[in-house]
């Protein structure tokens, strides 16, 4: 019994847990979870560790002094965190939901085939994808006699002077198509599937020519009797943000709307809804992660107590 509550034992158990965790990082993550982190023997090690910490702490709880308070805070906090984790695992729910724009659901999926109800209805009003502007690319210009293209950054409305010739940048569309009704050029979506740049060449002989340049079709330039050649090159199109505008309703009445993004979930009735992924081909659906975690409050109290404890032991106690 004395051994179970000893520091020696804690070092041994911790070493065993460390070794097992270490091995787990070298195998594929799903297998690691299955065979190590969620295995019975690993759980057994955690239980031994919990017993050890509980015994040590209880032994010292009889004696709460200025000297002991840091020890009690740190070790108690670990017990609280472990209890919180246990509550999360046994009483919590974690799953996902793929919602199409305009669609709603009152259930979500814990796994491929198992779905559970939500105490409310969730609707995806809109999914938004934003890009950083700087990625829209470069305009390459060269005259027919030259060998190399000159590079220019793309800023809508700006005018480039290429050896006396003026080229004006009119507009950029990420997913170019000609609208069959209005016969006007529009962007089909926000995804840069067919990036196009509209430029205007100021011709010295009077008359300006407007043309479209396509990043994916550099040779498509229609009739071209300018003495300059131009190419539009895209530079990456880095994603700035992806968000979902969600609407929560109960019994047909709208209760809450919120636009969620990574790092900013929606909270309602103990459920938290996270922006997890999205349809990167057509932007048709948004991937949500839905979690109900009743143990979280214990884990966070444990975290706070742990931080206070270590700060006390290592920074405050030495100067008391």
């Amino acid at each position: 019994m004395n051994f179970l509550s000893s520091v020696k034992f804690s070092i041994i158990v911790l070493l065993l847990i460390t070794t097992a965790s270490l091995i787990g990082t070298f195998i594929e993550q799903n297998k690691a979870s299955q065979f190590i982190y969620h295995s019975f023997w690993f759980l057994g090690l955690i239980i031994l560790f919990s017993i050890n910490i509980t015994l040590c702490t209880v032994k010292r709880l009889k004696n709460i002094t200025k000297k002991n308070i840091g020890f009690l805070a740190t070790h108690l906090s670990i017990i609280v965190i472990l209890i919180g984790a246990l509550v999360s695992i046994t009483m919590g729910e974690k799953g996902s939901l793929m919602l199409y724009e305009g669609h709603s659901s009152d259930r979500f999926f814990l796994s491929q085939d198992k779905s559970v109800p939500l105490p409310f209805t969730l609707k995806l009003n809109d999914f938004i994808l934003e890009f950083y502007n700087e990625g829209s690319g470069k305009l390459l210009i060269k005259s027919k006699e030259e060998k190399e293209y000159q590079e220019y950054p793309i800023n809508a409305g700006s005018e480039i002077d290429y050896r006396g010739k003026k080229v004006k940048i009119l507009q950029y569309l990420p997913d170019f198509e000609i609208n069959l009704e209005t016969k006007k050029a529009t962007s089909k979506s926000d995804v840069p599937n067919n990036p196009a740049l509209q430029v205007e060449v100021v011709s010295g002989h009077g008359g300006n020519r407007t043309k479209w340049l396509f990043a994916k079709f550099p040779d498509f330039h229609g009739k071209d009797n300018d003495d300059i050649e131009m190419k539009f090159v895209t530079g990456g199109g880095r994603i700035k943000d992806f968000k979902s505008e969600l609407e929560v309703s109960e019994n047909g009445k709208k209760v809450l709307t919120k636009t969620i993004e990574v790092n900013d979930p929606l909270t309602y009735k103990g459920y938290k809804i996270y922006q997890s992924s999205y349809d990167d081909q057509n932007l048709a659906w948004s991937g949500l992660q839905i979690v109900r975690d009743p143990g979280l409050v214990f884990v966070y109290i444990g975290f706070a107590l742990l931080i206070l404890g270590v700060v006390f032991i290592f920074y405050i106690k030495p100067i008391l």
Partner: protein, 272 residues
Amino acid sequence: MESTLINIGFVFYVAAVILYGIFLFGGINRIKRFATMALSSGFLLTLIAYIIRWQEAKRLPLSNMYESMFLFTLSLVFFYVIFEFKYKFNKIGFISSILALLLSSYLSFLGDSSIEPLVPALQSNWLTAHVVTYFIAYGALTISLITAIIALFPNPREKDRINFSNVTYRIISFAFPFLMMGLITGAVWAKQAWGDYWSWDPKETWSLITLFIYINYLHLPYTMRSALKKAVPNKSREDLLINIFAIVGYFAVVFTYFGVNYLLAGLHSYTN
């Protein structure tokens, strides 16, 4: 401007290595202060370069390998200078400035210094707390690695004045709460970002392994009678074990920082 300062800083680190080397191997005491000056100047230039990058990027630079190495350089040199000042011991200046020089050469010649916008997952205030606490810990722990190694070797003259096992313990004690806070801020951020404070991904698991090793290190003296105490001037087997733990702990730090990104795959691999 930023890269010019980094390059000049590099030159100062070279000077520091040479000057500390002359002091260490040539025994010329008078040169100590110039070595410290060279190293400190290198630090100041690196710091100013970092602030300039901060202004240009409009966010604290800590989002990729380049920026984290930048922060690591600052942390390492900062804690070395504090150590030197506190213990009035300059001999590990040589190895410390070599480390600073290696990091600085990465910043000057090998690393990609372009400022990239943040991917959505990193757009959070937790990024700052999480990365800064970790790099404060890493810088200090690097010094503890050096003192732990010295503690393994007999050197009676210095050991009368400084108990390197003890110094190692004190440095690790200082760094430990930061290591802990790094882990906790990471977990709270993970919960905020994808709904789970722990998913046993390699980076998380290795940061826990690192923490466990240092927790064991801190507890070891409680199982031993004479460990760390000045009363036992010769290298005892207890001190040997403790310092080996400190060194193994640092291997875990290095693996957590680099090994996971380059040798394993997971959620954290985008931080390259």
